[in-house]
Symmetry: C2
Subunit: 281 residues, 2 copies
């Protein structure tokens, strides 16, 4: 297990690193960032996983997410992986679109060729990367939580609902709440998982809840000026599913905010405090 340190910078009292490693799951090099807050020698810290949206790499939230100050205050490690395998050998969208293939892994293990070889983001994030993070950083794996944005909000919700005992908190910015029912999701889940929509249900937060998945409580922020709200995100479907399943959902419609990191960075500290309260309970 060889890990290359791409960069390491002191910030807000801790260390922000960017790392690259050869992934067994994706068959490619994968890059991720990790912030380790200031801490006492020997301490084991909670870890927050952050999953990014379409077109993003680790860099978007690392540069624009404004999470370090709060992670330093709360003593949280913050890990931000990439959104897909990358490289010349990795197949992408046949038409080069932004919403499938490179930068658009949708946090599934693809079953359809030619994507099934490399697009294994579910296993990468739930198995391989935690092993790596455990080897590199002082993480207390009994205290993990997960959040994400847009496609990554979808990933965070589906991973939390599938592993309610692993993650002690989960939240999302502008998640794709029901990918089986919206254009982005239909394209991606069809492309990676094939036409059998039963296989999609494990990668759809609303369907997971309908099928019995539960989580302690969820925080979701959406901007009411988000151009994707009505056609792609559809938080009302999550609201309805959570209500029916008695999952406490704190869904906040933030006035005037859009889909950008200007929105995410505004409420990042709120989310981290929500996570810390549950990670330290």
């Amino acid at each position: 297990m060889t890990v290359e340190t791409i960069s390491l910078n002191r910030s807000h009292g801790g260390m922000q690193g960017v790392y690259k490693h050869a992934s067994r799951e994706t068959g490619t090099d994968m890059t991720f960032s990790a912030y380790v807050p200031p801490h006492q020698g020997g301490a084991k810290l909670p870890v927050v996983w952050y999953l990014s949206g379409l077109t993003c790499t680790h860099a978007n939230v690392t540069e624009k997410g404004e999470y370090r100050k709060t992670c330093a205050e709360l003593g949280l490690i913050f890990v931000a992986p990439d959104t897909s395998p990358r490289g010349e050998a990795v197949p992408g969208d046949p038409a080069g679109a932004y919403d499938f293939g490179l930068g658009a892994g949708f946090y599934v293990d693809a079953t359809q060729p030619p994507f099934s070889r490399n697009y294994r983001m579910w296993s990468y994030l739930t198995e391989e990367l935690p092993e790596l993070v455990a080897a590199l950083f002082p993480v207390d794996f009994k205290r993990q939580s997960i959040l994400g944005h847009s496609m990554g909000g979808h990933g965070a919700l589906t991973m939390a609902l599938s592993h309610p005992d692993r993650y002690r908190a989960a939240s999302a910015f502008s998640p794709i709440a029901a990918p089986s029912q919206v254009p982005w999701g239909i394209k991606a889940l069809g492309g990676y998982l094939g036409d059998n929509k039963e296989a999609w249900r494990k990668h759809d937060a609303v369907a997971l809840i309908e099928d019995g998945a539960r989580f302690s409580d969820l925080l979701v922020d959406v901007g009411d000026a988000d151009p994707f709200l009505d056609q792609q995100l559809r938080p009302e479907l999550l609201e309805r599913a959570c209500a029916k399943a008695d999952i406490p959902l704190n869904l906040r419609r933030q006035n005037g905010y859009d889909h950008s990191y200007y929105f995410i960075s505004t409420f990042m500290a709120d989310h981290l405090r929500w996570h810390a309260a549950r990670l330290k309970a």
Copy 2:
């Protein structure tokens, strides 16, 4: 006076805009960003000018500077201009180097051809852009302050020392404190202002102080892991000049920090509070 709005996003309760306009000073289009915090209708707000370093545009601090939360709390407008004129018609470094020409205006009015036509960043920032900002935003021009990073720290210090009645606070991250004495500055001042070193003294914070310029007090942060500290920044020369001139200088050597926005963003809130205390005094 036509201004094009490139983007406008709600963030931390206020509005982050990016704007483009045709500049009379540079003879080019110029882009800048401005954050307007939440405020009461009719209010006039203090404005903080932020000057960026070599290779930067408005975008670096706008994306990575982590200033919006504090500006929202303190009620500060934050304006970040570009670092040079740009465009195919604008002459740059003959060898394409990063430290002269495009992205490296050094905040002077060039006197040497072929740069004198476009490289008029001093007049652009002290005359033209304030007029534009006054027309666009609810600014109280009796309450202005200035800060910057590296080449922009140089710009902020020289502008403050040259206009002690205009700016009510000034600070810098990692400033080029004495450009006449270091490689970056010798190349830039020579290229823009010619061989007569007397002309350089108005664009050198240490020389300005030696020649009698004064300012109420200054805050300067440098990282002790900054690779440019000893050869290009030389804060000890500023320290000596301020001591001799009885200018109170709060020079902080921050342990383990480098020259990046990971450093700047860590101490940005400190600087803004320093400014606010003086802007609101």
